[in-house]
């Protein structure tokens, strides 16, 4: 998004959040689905709840929609306490994972369904439906029934129906999960476009990290009912606050050891007797002389046949495997310590022969700021 | 669903079933413990609430298991129970014998035929049960179509007596309950992956061996379901034995009917009903278990 740089209400202490969750807890009998969760989401945000299945992201969304009661804590939307307010009384609409299009109604009637149950005048309903059809480019399909639509068209009807009442907040439950990969990527951009046009606050639930990275202004990474980190996609990727987040988003190399030095921005990790400590940026949770983990993305690791003596961080290893992915090649290198580190290179030239193949001895190196030392 | 009408939604059918299913059943149980009397209603004791507590205890003290003792003493009853079980079991086996090949052939038929074949099996179920039983009277009687045909082709010289024998009852049950056998077997066979048979043949089975080693075990849940669906209603059958069976065809449904309508012995009829239910509990529980396992 072009204005991501300027749009950052979460950094503005004056900004009032649209949604505010305070110590929200959800229990099902013995099982705790959400544990004392606190979170602010601001107007016009495209907010992603990301996590593995069972992490509580869907439960949180269903509480926002009014489909689940809160066991403890408080949710306010636009300053109003949501406790006991049923879904039909909330200025919140939801796009369901299964789309939940009414099979017995036409596209037109599906879009008008919510409007007919609002205080909108009858003659305005038609205009609004037409406007929504135009927004998702389905004018020609107004008279069709859901089963006469393709997967992508159904997805757009579901989106338009949820937006028709002009909700303050739109909840999207795995909105692109049913589409194939190509269509999904294309639809992600449409989704962002529509979000920007309507200015509605979107909260999306997804388990697909690429999708969250693409569409969201901020991402909340969840695990076992808690939020592990809330941040912009860039910071989630480059400055994860835990090994869990680093590992969940993208590929990462992890080397465990003890934090041997910590001064300001930089840290060193001792990872074995007689090995040169790894020098890296100090990350969250790193404490001097405590156990820590060094994390680095494969694309930040350089591979060479000669020793790069100009770099502090350099290790020797043997190529164990090469994965050719077309645009990239990933080299899996077994270090003398037994750790397996992957290095990724862009294939910027066709059939580039790097002269590196299986069983070759190689040097891996990275700059002093390429990786992070995190608490472990 | 949080319907505000939830109490009505649950309460109305609940109340209806309590009043018209459970209460009547309690009455049957109570009368089965009473004694027959020449009165209206033709049994004693009758609960008289106006007598208060004494009336209730007096009423309860007059109930006894005499009718059940009677059922064990008169060999008509236990013979009727045994004979019902035997007739139901034999008919079930015969229905399986007719139904399995039919279900198998339907499942093997070209896919575009199957809905029509299925409809042909279900269609008789919608037509009157009574009429389907009645149709066999004309076929099985001494001068009926079957005897005419058999004598016509010279297979027999004198007409066979089939009507009013147990054989006619078997035929009637097989005929009327055939869809209940065919449908569950067809459902399991139709679901079966055709490549399983190919795999069996690939591994060295002949067609016939593949049938016994793969098809038969896989169709078991359907076969068991079908057998219970025939056996359970056949056990309490009344119409078929009374139209096609003879005077020596003993089935408990018929005995109950006669006890009630001809002898007007309501307490014994009620006891007969209770015992029949107790006998039915066994196959019903087994059936339930089979359904849960295959689900």
């Amino acid at each position: 998004m072009s204005h991501t740089e300027v749009f950052a209400p979460w950094d503005d202490p004056e900004a009032t959040p649209l949604i505010s969750c305070q110590d929200v807890t959800k229990r099902y009998g013995e099982f705790t689905a959400i544990e004392r969760l606190t979170l602010d989401i601001f107007p016009r945000e495209f907010f992603a709840l990301l996590g593995p299945s069972g992490c509580g992201k869907t439960t949180l969304m269903r509480m926002l929609g009014g489909f689940e009661d809160v066991s403890g804590g408080r949710i306010t939307i636009d300053g109003q306490d949501m406790a006991g307010i049923p879904p039909n009384k909330r200025a919140v609409n939801m796009m369901f994972q299964s789309y939940a299009l009414f099979p017995h109604l036409t596209v037109w009637d599906n879009l008008a369904f919510g409007l007919k149950r609002s205080d909108m005048a009858k003659d305005q309903i038609g205009d609004r439906v037409e406007a929504m059809l135009k927004l998702v480019q389905l004018q020609k399909f107004a008279k069709r029934k859901p089963h006469q639509l393709s997967g992508g068209q159904k997805q757009r009807v579901a989106l338009a129906r949820a937006l028709a009442k002009g909700p303050k907040l739109l909840l999207l439950d795995e909105p692109l999960g049913a589409l194939d990969k190509k269509l999904r990527q294309q639809t992600q951009f449409e989704l962002m476009d529509i979000q920007e046009k309507t200015g509605t606050t979107f909260v999306i639930v997804t388990h697909d990290q690429e999708e969250a990275m693409t569409v969201a202004s901020r991402i909340a990474v969840m695990d076992e009912g808690r939020i592990v980190q809330v941040d912009t996609p860039g910071r989630i990727y480059e400055a994860p606050n835990s090994v869990y987040v680093a590992d969940f988003i993208g590929d990462v190399n992890v080397i465990r050891g003890r934090v041997s030095a910590l001064n300001g921005e930089s840290a060193e990790l001792n990872w074995g007797e007689g090995k040169r400590p790894i020098r890296a940026t100090a990350g969250a949770g790193a404490v001097h002389d405590a156990s820590g983990a060094f994390v680095i993305r494969p694309e930040k690791v350089t591979i060479a046949t000669e020793e790069p003596t100009d770099r502090h961080n350099r290790v020797k290893g043997v190529v164990e495997d090469i994965a050719y992915l077309g645009n990239l090649s990933t080299f899996h290198v077994r270090l003398e310590s037994g750790d397996l580190i992957s290095a990724q290179l862009a294939n910027s030239r066709r059939f580039a022969n790097r002269g590196i193949t299986w069983e070759d001895p190689v040097w891996l190196s990275w700059s002093d700021t390429a990786g992070l030392v995190l608490g472990d | 669903m949080r319907l505000s009408s939830r109490p009505v939604l649950i309460g109305l059918p609940y109340l209806w079933l309590l009043l018209l299913f459970l209460v009547p059943f309690g009455i049957v149980l109570k009368i089965s413990l009473s004694d027959v009397a020449i009165a209206i209603p033709p049994y004693v004791p009758v609960l008289d609430p106006s007598e208060g507590w004494a009336g209730i205890t007096g009423f309860l003290s007059q109930l006894d298991f005499e009718n059940y003792v009677w059922l064990t003493q008169d060999d008509l009853y236990w013979k009727a129970y045994l004979s019902s079980v035997r007739i139901a079991a034999i008919s079930t086996a015969l229905t399986l014998l007719v139904g399995f090949p039919l279900a198998y052939a339907m499942a093997r038929a070209p896919e575009q035929w199957r809905p029509s074949l299925l409809m042909l099996v279900i269609l008789p179920f919608w037509t009157s049960f009574l009429i389907r039983v009645y149709a066999w009277i004309g076929i099985l009687s001494n001068e009926g179509f079957l005897n005419q045909a058999l004598m016509g082709i010279g297979l027999i010289d004198a007409p066979l007596t089939i009507l009013n024998t147990n054989a006619a009852v078997y035929i009637g049950i097989v005929y009327t309950y055939l869809p209940f056998m065919v449908l569950p077997i067809y459902a399991t066979l139709e679901k079966m992956d055709g490549s399983l048979l190919e795999a069996a043949e690939d591994l060295g089975c002949t067609r016939l061996q593949a049938f016994w080693a793969v098809t038969v075990p896989l169709s078991r849940p359907g076969v068991i379901a079908g057998c219970f669906l025939v056996f359970i209603p056949a056990l309490g059958e009344f119409v078929i034995p009374s139209l096609l069976g003879g005077s020596d065809t003993l089935m408990i449904g018929k005995v109950l009917w006669e006890e009630f309508f001809s002898n007007r012995d309501w307490p014994v009829a009620s006891a007969v009903a209770i015992v029949l239910l107790l006998i039915l509990v066994v196959p019903i529980v087994l059936f339930q278990r089979n359904q849960e396992r295959s689900a």
Partner: protein, 269 residues
């Protein structure tokens, strides 16, 4: 296309011959001029004429129709409610008893159902007649309706109802405008099943009818106990024709609807 083996062809031929020849004979001999039901005496529609003039049969047919229409309608309302209570009602007191009472009548021998209801009607002093048959039929067929509707409800996507509430419906409004139209076909088949069961029932009606009301099955039963009669053949033919027309028409309509739907889905994908 795979060809059917000889064995399968024989199975199909024999199976369907067994199912249909008895009914075919009934139909053919209903046009027999002779009173001797197993001897062909030439074509005639005479027995249909006699049937139409037989007031006892007409009266019984009218009673049967009345009982069928009223009882199946009651059964459909109650059975649908029971199905919703079972599938969507959550927990409530006596739920196990409730589901037991819904499934028990399905396996209960008719003689017992009939006997127990008769004893109830007598003990509360209800005069037997059309009303008691209606009560009896509604009771056992509501259980069938409930089974048909609850199997449809169980596969019903709950998020459709949630979507309706999300878009501003109250619980009842969501049920009426979304759930009900979608399960309507199951409710209609439940009604048809209840109606057929009521038309067909002899045993329960015999117990609960009393001398005041006679249904068609009771009338047929008392006359066929004495043997085969050409008038009953004619009546059977009419019933078979009506049912066959209805079932075939219904299945053709559904089949066409399914085919059209499939074609549309293929076109859309």
């Amino acid at each position: 296309m795979r060809r059917l083996s000889a064995f399968n062809v024989v199975s199909l031929t024999f199976g369907f011959a067994f199912l249909y020849i008895p009914m075919l004979i009934l139909v053919v001999y209903s046009f027999n001029a002779s009173r001797l039901v197993t001897v062909w005496g030439g074509f005639s529609t005479r027995w249909y004429g006699e049937l139409v003039r037989n007031e006892a049969f007409l009266e019984a047919a009218w009673v049967t129709l009345k009982v069928g229409l009223i009882s199946s309608t009651i059964a459909t309302v109650l059975g649908t409610m029971a199905a919703i209570a079972m599938v969507r009602g959550g927990r409530f007191m006596g739920r196990t008893l409730f589901s037991g009472m819904i499934y028990a009548p399905l396996v209960m021998p008719e003689v017992i159902t009939g006997l127990s209801l008769l004893l109830l009607f007598i003990s509360i002093g209800l005069e037997r007649g059309v009303m008691t048959i209606v009560l009896a039929h509604a009771t056992f067929s509501m259980c069938y309706v409930s089974v048909v509707v609850s199997s449809r409800l169980a596969s019903f996507d709950v998020s459709l109802e949630e979507a309706a509430r999300d878009l501003g419906c109250t619980g009842w409004d969501a049920f009426r405008s979304v759930t009900l139209p979608i399960i309507a076909p199951a409710v209609v088949s439940g009604w048809l099943l209840a109606f057929t069961l009521s038309l067909d029932d002899l045993v329960i009606a015999s117990f609960t009818a009393g001398p005041a009301a006679t249904t068609l099955p009771i009338r047929i039963f008392s006359s066929v106990r004495l043997g085969v009669s050409p008038e009953i053949n004619a009546l059977s033919t009419i019933i078979i024709a009506l049912v066959a027309t209805g079932v075939i028409a219904a299945s053709l309509t559904t089949k066409r609807a399914i085919l059209r739907r499939q074609a549309e889905e293929r076109a859309a994908a």
